[in-house]
Symmetry: C3
Subunit: 256 residues, 3 copies
Amino acid sequence: MNYTLTQIPERTAKPRHSGFTMVMDKGLSIRQAEDLLSTSADYIDIIKLGWATSFVTPNLQEKLDVYAAAGIPVYFGGTLFEAFVVRKQFDDYRRLLDKYKMTYAEVSDGSIEMDPDDKCEYIRQLATQVTVLSEVGSKDEAKIIPPYKWIKLMQAELQAGAWKVIGEAREGGNVGLFRSSGEVRQGLVEEILTQVPFESIIWEAPQKAQQVWFVKLLGANVNLGNIAPHEVIPLETIRLGLRGDTFTHFLNQSEL
Amino acid sequence: MNYTLTQIPERTAKPRHSGFTMVMDKGLSIRQAEDLLSTSADYIDIIKLGWATSFVTPNLQEKLDVYAAAGIPVYFGGTLFEAFVVRKQFDDYRRLLDKYKMTYAEVSDGSIEMDPDDKCEYIRQLATQVTVLSEVGSKDEAKIIPPYKWIKLMQAELQAGAWKVIGEAREGGNVGLFRSSGEVRQGLVEEILTQVPFESIIWEAPQKAQQVWFVKLLGANVNLGNIAPHEVIPLETIRLGLRGDTFTHFLNQSEL
Amino acid sequence: MNYTLTQIPERTAKPRHSGFTMVMDKGLSIRQAEDLLSTSADYIDIIKLGWATSFVTPNLQEKLDVYAAAGIPVYFGGTLFEAFVVRKQFDDYRRLLDKYKMTYAEVSDGSIEMDPDDKCEYIRQLATQVTVLSEVGSKDEAKIIPPYKWIKLMQAELQAGAWKVIGEAREGGNVGLFRSSGEVRQGLVEEILTQVPFESIIWEAPQKAQQVWFVKLLGANVNLGNIAPHEVIPLETIRLGLRGDTFTHFLNQSEL
């Protein structure tokens, strides 16, 4: 840190299991990736190459190398897994992970119908090869999953071998955990937290108000995902109580 | 492509007449322009220097050189044409196009009142010098043009020598083809398509939901414009059915 | 300028007291800062390192050097001042300004309660060390300050030694001068202008419609702040009547 302030909440250090920030790269150039790392490498725990953008980006291997050199793991968005599965090319997907020496992979069913048992079987198989993140929630805003089912799915997927489960929100933050307005489904989040350990969940929260809501509820070291590259520094200040939105949250109230 | 997936819609190749992507540069630096090309050159068919931003950007010639080296044509936004015309400096505009060796130009009347015959005359004159794109639609959200008139104007402008006609939406996607909420004027688009050839139209569609709507209606190879630099890769995945929004659109339904 | 157009409003030149553009840097990398300067240095009068982002950016000294080399002053967002004050570390803040050789500082009370006399005392003290910008308005959208009080505070703060006063809007443009929808509190602005000199105020106006509103009311040379880096070129065209929104505003109407 560039200077000293009292009453700054303590942040976890890498490798983080809580206080984790997952960033979405949806097509950065090599220089843009380097720029991101130059300001934010310490605050980024993992990078997702959004949905199937890796199919069309010409700089894939070079970008993987840039992130690897910074010690930050990368994974392909779950939509890519689904794109292979829906085409009955799951074995090709496994070979793809090997080809690019991926150490993480996401299993999701945001765009397709998948039997929960089948999903868990994919998790089990991939967990022999990589660290698995599994995602719960549909990308279809009309498809509302009730809280008890979120919990059941998350528990089963962790049980099947997922390292962490991700709560779906998309790049926009307007489905899954959130209403189409971006408003948090507070009851859903609170009910999930009664049954699933805090540190096992990554909450996709691309909008500032969503990040603020989670930091206020769960503290500086909540796991957040789908953070845009240019929002990593702002998010870090929200976690530390150094932006207006959380400014007084971590202060010793008796001293104010 | 970095790997192989079945059932990916076929895309047209450059020089494209359909499946065309027009990107808006509203003041990129040289390095940012290079970054854009490094990830997206294959997917960009033409670049518009938004409205009259070319007046105030200090790097104009250098940027034109960067785009030229990538083989991507560039044109000045129609507002610049209008700025010259409204000042009775049309001859200066023609000299400007020569000075910068521009091979494309836009004729529009989004910010001024112009008689349709006069507009066609400008198209005719400029078509002797460059390839002309003409734009239909007002930037004034209160000025609603009925569908039959859109069609009449588009047909007359193509007849006068425009290579393609552009449907107005602005950078924001909230006028012309769209309501102020960004919602597509579906009846307008569908009526236009009954009379004007699909490949003669470029639809300005800066918002993701608008791009998705057009790809679902007209397929992977619809012509789209006013795409922000960082949305070219995402748009390409939408065209290919590799983002949630169009994920099942191109799949063989009987195999699902 | 790259070419000549008649009827372009005259812009002030640096060092500007009106027609001033303040840009918000909320975590740019060194290269991104260089990119910004390469296109926009002539149009940027001062750069704010947004709120307390300077706490977590690893490139602080280097970035200050880049901006200094371009002759553009920089200051820390007011939230940083407040973070020190609320922790009773005001002396540390003064040392921090010296350590980084800052020549400007902001005094604000957007996130904390502060007695107006105390705020003026901070202004007086800091004015012996740096040029002071003071900000009026709360970051809390529920806290509405009536116009007469804005005026009283602005006058007192200028009297205490503030070089200019800033009207609060945040990065989003949805508090202070604006309703949560982003709409300008027109009556507030107009009433302030009856009592506080035009050139003593910097209006935070991050949204395009807000910038347009101020340029239409106060002309090309209104002082505007919280401009995002990629909006500096677009703003300059709005000031010059070269974007649709202000296109006819500066034209000699009798010639149209």
